[in-house]
């Protein structure tokens, strides 16, 4: 057994009275957390000692090959010539493959067709995969990949999703949701407010890039180790590409160094390519993308162009209107159908739209195929209505929070534009009320207004934005999960399930579920890796559903096992005791029944031994499928979500109006996770999601040149938040006393994605600061990411409007010229 330093963070922390103390965090005072539930991450010690193995750390035989990809240099055109002989001639090269070397399927589109494993004729984006080379070292393969002779009949690249939509150049058909007579509501409205926005994409920037290691097995099969959120799909695609049955392919995922959606569909191509090489050469094959190749080859969060026209009454309450969302999908469908759907499902966020029409387009452009990313379109949908809230408030001269509160879903207005009833309205209202007071919103608002009135250069802004996020896969069939539970004769327990661990703490939570059902210490329960030969036909670990689905499946398995042990105890162990099933209990490592004289006890280990000798199966399978959900796409109505998760954040910023630089000075968050499965992990998800969302809206800027080549292709040019971007004051609290109204696992709620959207408060606060410079009634447009450049140019646009540029010289029109 390990002897660990057993100090809680709280008791070890030095006196924090020191004025210089960096940071002020109330949210995670360890004392406040339920100690039993706030278990540390199952791999925490392995993480800090370097023992946690990621794909590239796995030992492979000395003859393993290393694969590099040959990328298209151009965004669009016909591949006229691909001469790979110079590649073959490079030192260390063992094999080179392209389109015609694939024995099975060549289209590896996950849901819809359209993703060729290698380009055959048409090149659809700069960075697209043309060929692969296997060599005896990583460097040799990468150097060889540069030697190909590539001739392309270049054609103009389509890079503007709005123009593409106008030409009906879409990867999937447009979908429309409608409630009531939206035209009428606009024509009858007291005020019509409208606006538009561009929301930039986002690179996942998982710290561990795409990677896999494929070993050929007997019987024409392969074993695939991959950093991957969807092992079952990779199994299917590898099998189809090789032209072999699924059972010949085993996919294993122990952990990912981050996924965030970027390894849901876009981890498969590399596994397929490595599998091809492994089968052809009969040697293990490694494929690990360099950071630059990873950023060029794989899709990102969808950029959106959106606009709205809403009719409001004199109180700023929305009567109805029209919202249009254009998702920039890149060259192929990938998951864009569901992603733009989810944007549409969240175009209301927490507000009743009244009689509204929401239209979602899926534009095709010549860039990598955009894909899942934490929130899955939801964030982009919410951004539009949050812009509208600020616009309405400024138009009517009210505080944005007042307008937001008036528009919240409420009794009498609880039905969404797609027909789902919003539950837990009281929770929503009380959550916002609590945060409003705990963050001291109104006093700070007054103080900030006074400050801005006397400060010409530095302006401050404050905003509270809510989140209401729907939980369930909108593709109904994915809402199922399986688990496999083994108890060994020493009493140790092994659980496997279909979910994958990417840092979110899923395995920790699932082990906690099993330990709780079997009355064991957490240390008795272990998880190995996610494997397709243990639990088959699984769904991706996505849509925040990991713990909801797999936790339930694991619980189901544990309950089955428990039932068997109880039956064994009644029939075989204590047949004379006259006990009933209801008298039995697994607790504290014991099976117990009765009390006093009629007290029966047996330790878990002995129970298991006895059951084994008594020929009771000590292995159980669990299964779960989410009830109640349905969505009729024809009618655009239904209940796509089992429940909603809620939260709200208040952010304060200070902006330097001369340079466009800004600081997020304080953030207060109150978030709903129902009854938390593990408060430490949940708070980690909330904080991490918030900062990631803040990066999306502030510093993370993707830039392409006019020919469609990605310029921001590494961390030197693509800036995710760093240590100093953490707000000095960051108060994060879990909402207490509101268990899930649906029967989710122990009445908890999903937490992976919802907190990401709390960061919209930062963007809204920036607009709020800028609005202090704008003429009354206006709130300046601020596209995202709101880099210092965008902030400065937004200020300049306002001042130009007032006819007095601060710099007093002519400027180019376009603030975002691409180099």
């Amino acid at each position: 057994m390990r002897t660990l330093t057993k100090l809680s963070a709280a008791s070890a922390a030095p006196d924090r009275a020191g004025e210089e103390y960096a940071g002020d965090t109330k949210g995670v005072d360890a004392k406040r957390l339920d100690k039993k539930a706030a278990q540390r991450h199952e791999s925490a010690i392995k993480h800090v000692t370097g023992q946690a193995a990621y794909i590239d750390d796995l030992p492979a035989p000395a003859n393993a090959l290393h694969i590099a990809i040959g990328l298209s240099p151009l965004a669009h055109g016909r591949l006229e010539r691909l001469d790979l002989d110079p590649v073959r001639a490079m030192p260390g090269v063992v094999d080179v493959i392209s389109f015609h070397d694939v024995p099975g399927h060549t289209d590896i589109g996950p849901v819809f067709h359209g993703d060729p494993i290698f380009v055959e004729n048409e090149i659809s984006y700069a960075g697209q995969c043309l060929f692969a080379v296997a060599a005896d070292s990583h460097d040799a393969a990468r150097r060889a990949a540069k030697a190909a002779i590539i001739e392309i009949d270049e054609q103009p690249a389509s890079l503007d999703p709005v123009a593409a939509t106008e030409k009906n150049d879409l990867v999937r058909p447009t979908h429309v949701q409608q409630s009531g007579d939206w035209q009428q509501s606009l024509s009858n409205a007291r005020h019509v407010v409208s606006g538009e926005q561009f929301i930039g994409g986002q690179e996942h920037f998982y710290l561990e890039g795409q990677a896999c290691l494929v070993t050929p097995s007997e019987d024409e099969g392969v074993v695939v180790h991959t950093s991957n959120q969807h092992p079952s799909e990779t199994q299917k695609l590898v099998a189809e590409v090789l032209g072999i049955p699924f059972h010949a392919v085993t996919v294993e995922v122990r952990r990912m160094g981050g996924g965030f959606g970027g390894k849901e569909t876009q981890a498969s191509p590399w596994a397929c390519i490595a599998a091809l090489i492994a089968r052809r050469t009969q040697r293990p094959a490694r494929l690990r993308l360099s950071r630059g190749d990873d950023m060029r080859l794989t899709g990102k969060r969808h950029p959106f162009h959106s606009r709205y026209r809403l009719g409001v009454d004199d109180d700023g309450v929305i009567q109805g209107g029209d919202m249009t969302l254009i998702g920039d999908c890149g060259y192929s469908p990938d998951l864009s159908e569901a992603i733009v759907d989810r944007a549409m499902f969240h175009a209301d966020n927490a507000y009743s739209l009244g009689a509204a029409r929401v239209t979602g387009h899926r534009a095709r452009t010549h860039t990598a195929s955009n894909t899942a990313f934490r929130g899955f379109g939801g964030p982009q949908g919410m951004m539009l209505i949050e812009q509208a809230m600020d616009d309405i408030a400024h138009r009517l001269g009210e505080d944005p929070l007042t307008i937001r509160k008036r528009n919240l879903y409420r009794h009498g207005r609880e039905t969404t534009h797609y027909g789902q009833e919003v539950e837990q309205l009281d929770l929503l209202h009380s959550l916002i009320g609590q945060l409003e007071s705990s963050s001291d919103y109104w006093a700070r608002r007054a103080e900030i207004s006074a400050y801005n009135a006397r400060s010409p250069i530095i302006r401050r802004g404050l905003a509270l934005t809510p989140v209401k996020f729907g939980i369930s896969f909108t593709a109904k069939h994915l809402n199922q999960a399986g688990a496999l539970l083994h108890v060994y004769t020493d009493g140790s327990v092994m659980i496997n399930h279909g979910g994958t661990e990417m840092g979110q703490g899923l395995h920790t939570k699932v082990c906690q579920v099993v330990a709780r059902e079997l009355g064991l210490e957490l240390s008795c329960v272990s998880i190995s890796a996610t494997r397709t030969d243990k639990v088959p036909n699984t769904s991706p670990t996505a849509a925040s559903s990991g713990a909801d689905l797999n936790g339930q499946a694991a619980r189901d398995a544990a309950l089955k096992l428990r039932e068997r042990l109880f039956a064994f105890a009644l029939e075989t162990l204590w047949p004379q005791a006259g006990l009933k099933l209801g008298d039995l209990q697994l607790k504290g490592g014991m099976l117990m029944a009765g009390s006093g004289e009629g007290k029966y006890r047996i330790a878990w280990g002995e129970l298991v031994q006895a059951a084994y000798i008594g020929r009771v199966s000590l292995s159980a399978q669990g299964f779960y499928s989410t009830p109640l959900i349905h969505y009729d796409r024809e009618a655009a109505k239904g209940r796509p979500f089992y429940y909603f998760a809620y939260g709200a954040a208040v952010s304060e910023v200070a902006v330097d109006t001369l340079s466009g630089e800004y600081q997020v000075t304080r953030v207060d968050i109150l978030h709903d996770v129902g009854d938390s499965l593990n408060p430490a992990i949940d708070i980690g998800q909330i904080e991490g999601g918030f900062i990631q969302g803040m990066g999306w809206l502030t510093s993370e800027e993707l830039k392409w040149n006019d020919a469609g080549r990605l310029l921001s292709d590494g961390p030197a040019t693509y800036k995710i938040p760093a240590f100093g971007d953490l707000p000095a004051t960051f108060n994060v609290e879990l909402l207490e006393g509101h268990p899930n109204s649906q029967a989710s696992i122990y009445r908890s709620k999903a937490v992976g994605e919802p907190p990401f959207m709390l960061a919209i408060s930062v963007w809204s606060a920036l607009r709020n600061a800028l609005a202090s410079l704008a003429p009354d009634g206006q709130c300046p447009r601020l596209d995202t990411p709101a880099t210092p450049e965008r902030v400065l140019m937004a200020i300049a646009a306002m001042q130009d409007h007032g006819d007095k540029g601060p710099a007093g010289h002519p400027r180019e029109d376009d603030a975002h010229v691409q180099a």
Binding site: A13, A22, V48, T49, G50, L207, G257, E661, K719, L792
Partner: protein, 501 residues
């Protein structure tokens, strides 16, 4: 032969190629995979290791470094510490234990690098406090940013990492620090391995004096010069170039001088930014402040001022400051030395006045005379560890209410770091009035035709540069009117705290 210590144990490696990095050495040759690769460009910190160097007082001083762009040959005579080397059996190092208890790892991929940065912070604090870490005050935000700004974490949002950094000092140190800390002779052994066998490391050369350097260059005309490698090594990892023959400048005694002379500060070209920081803090505080936003701790401990100058990037941060200070450069070749004004050094995009046989030997900064001011402002997308979109370095004197000897230097505005001559002329001899600055901003528009690129558009660069002049005016006005302020009217804020100079 590279003699070094690795997690307390002596190691001796022969026959390594010149261009193998410490990360490749660890992962591919030593089988130590705890140290991760997240970018291979020095930007993410996943590969962070600690390097122990003799501190001159019989001990070892540790700094963090990016293994991905650290030449393995630079390990010679050093103690390399990685995440595998910290725990004592099952007892975690305080940096590790605090990370576990604060729930500061999620996916865990950044964690080894974060742990190593915390380890160097811990060791530095322990050094400062004579081992009495528990009595230390909590770290300031500036200190934590300096220590952790080069470690990206995509999962946690950093709050628990901040808490772990504050908490680690309170953990018991005895029996919780690596066993090699018990080895009293370790620092002597490390120092000794530096002395041994000066000679041949195959294609990696390590001259000790300029004369040796010139001889080596004569014999190996295609060899590249390397100092901190923080620019050069990107050719290796990003462009996949081979660097078969290298001459390391770091051991040249002449390039390690750091001397205060009557006229100014003489800085050997191979002096690292980390070594310059305290000196700048005393003599050029605005330059020191810039260093807080220059790359990361990992990079500043390797990167040299000479490399920053010789690399001649138009967006390098050091050169505009040199222009504003009217620094000069000492270049030396076998034929002799010559001194030239820094502003004559930069000829065109990445072209310098450095002759084929020459090396940059020294950078000479004249002292700031009484009344002379220096301001340096860097604009970038992210505050920490980012390359400038625009950098302004301004120096002036106010005599009888008039601006004298004004030097306005910019990075990011042209193909070379350059002074804004028109704007300087507009201000020279003028009071710091709105009118004078309006004229300067007008002139600035003709001084530069900046490019649009991934870091910023041309229009933004123009506007931002002009606004830096406006900021300058406001600074001069508020600074000179200070004291005149009554205590009840707070001074106008011109800049945000976090960016304040």
């Amino acid at each position: 032969m590279i003699d070094f210590h690795f997690n307390g144990e002596p190691h001796s490696l022969a026959g390594l190629p010149a261009d193998i990095s410490v990360l490749e050495l660890l992962r591919l040759r030593l089988g130590a995979t705890g140290t991760k690769e997240g970018c291979a460009s020095g930007d993410c910190g996943a590969c962070t290791v600690a390097i122990g160097e003799p501190d001159g007082h019989g001990g070892l001083r540790y700094h963090n470094a990016n293994a991905c762009i650290l030449p393995a040959h630079q390990l010679k005579g050093r103690h390399l510490v990685t995440v595998e080397g910290l725990a004592r059996g099952d007892a975690l190092h305080p940096a590790q234990a605090a990370m576990v208890d604060c729930h500061a790892s999620q996916c865990g991929f950044c964690t080894p690098g974060i742990v190593m940065s915390l380890f160097t912070l811990y060791e530095a604090s322990s050094h400062e406090s004579g081992g009495q870490t528990a009595t230390l005050a909590p770290y300031s935000q500036a200190r934590l940013e300096a220590a952790l700004g080069g470690n990206l974490c995509r999962c946690t949002g950093y709050r628990p990492i901040r808490d772990a950094a504050q908490a680690m000092l309170a953990y018991p140190a005895d029996q919780h620090r690596p066993t090699w800390t018990d080895n009293q002779q370790l620092s002597d052994q490390v120092a000794a391995s530096h002395q041994e066998d000066p000679a041949d490391d195959g294609h990696y050369h390590r001259p000790n004096h300029l004369a040796e350097l010139f001889a080596l260059r004569r014999d190996h005309p295609s060899a590249r010069l390397v100092a901190g490698a923080t620019d050069l090594w990107l050719e290796r990892t990003q462009q996949l170039k081979e660097l078969p023959e290298l001459i390391d400048l770091c051991n040249l005694a002449e390039l390690q001088v750091l001397e205060e002379h009557d006229q100014g500060l003489h800085i050997g070209a191979a002096v690292t930014y980390a070594r310059l920081e305290p000196v700048f803090e005393t003599h050029f505080p605005a330059f020191a402040r810039l260093l807080h936003r220059f790359a990361s701790s990992q990079i500043r401990h390797r990167a040299t001022l000479g490399g920053n100058v010789a690399n001649a990037s138009p967006i390098g941060d050091g050169p505009p400051v040199l222009l504003a200070l009217d620094a000069s450069l000492l270049l030396e070749s076998p034929e002799g030395a010559r001194e030239m004004p820094a502003q004559d050094f930069f000829l065109d995009y990445r072209q310098t006045a450095l002759g084929a046989q020459e090396v940059l030997r020294e950078i000479r900064l004249p002292w700031l005379t009484e009344g002379r001011q220096l301001k340096v402002w860097k604009l970038s997308k992210r505050r920490e560890d980012d390359i400038s979109a625009v950098l302004g370095a301004f120096s002036w004197q106010l005599e009888d209410g008039r601006l004298r000897d004004v030097r306005l230097a910019f990075g990011g505005m042209a193909a070379i770091p350059a002074r804004a001559r028109g704007a300087e002329t507009a201000l020279e001899g003028q009071p710091p009035s709105e009118a004078a600055f309006a004229a300067a901003k007008q002139a600035l528009d003709d001084d530069f035709q900046p490019l649009s690129d991934v870091r910023g558009s041309s229009a933004y660069r123009r506007l931002a540069a002009a606004n830096l002049l406006e900021r300058l005016r406001l600074k001069i006005v508020t600074d000179t009117s200070q004291g005149a302020n009554t205590p009840n009217t707070p001074a106008m804020e011109v800049m945000l705290d976090a960016y304040a100079d």
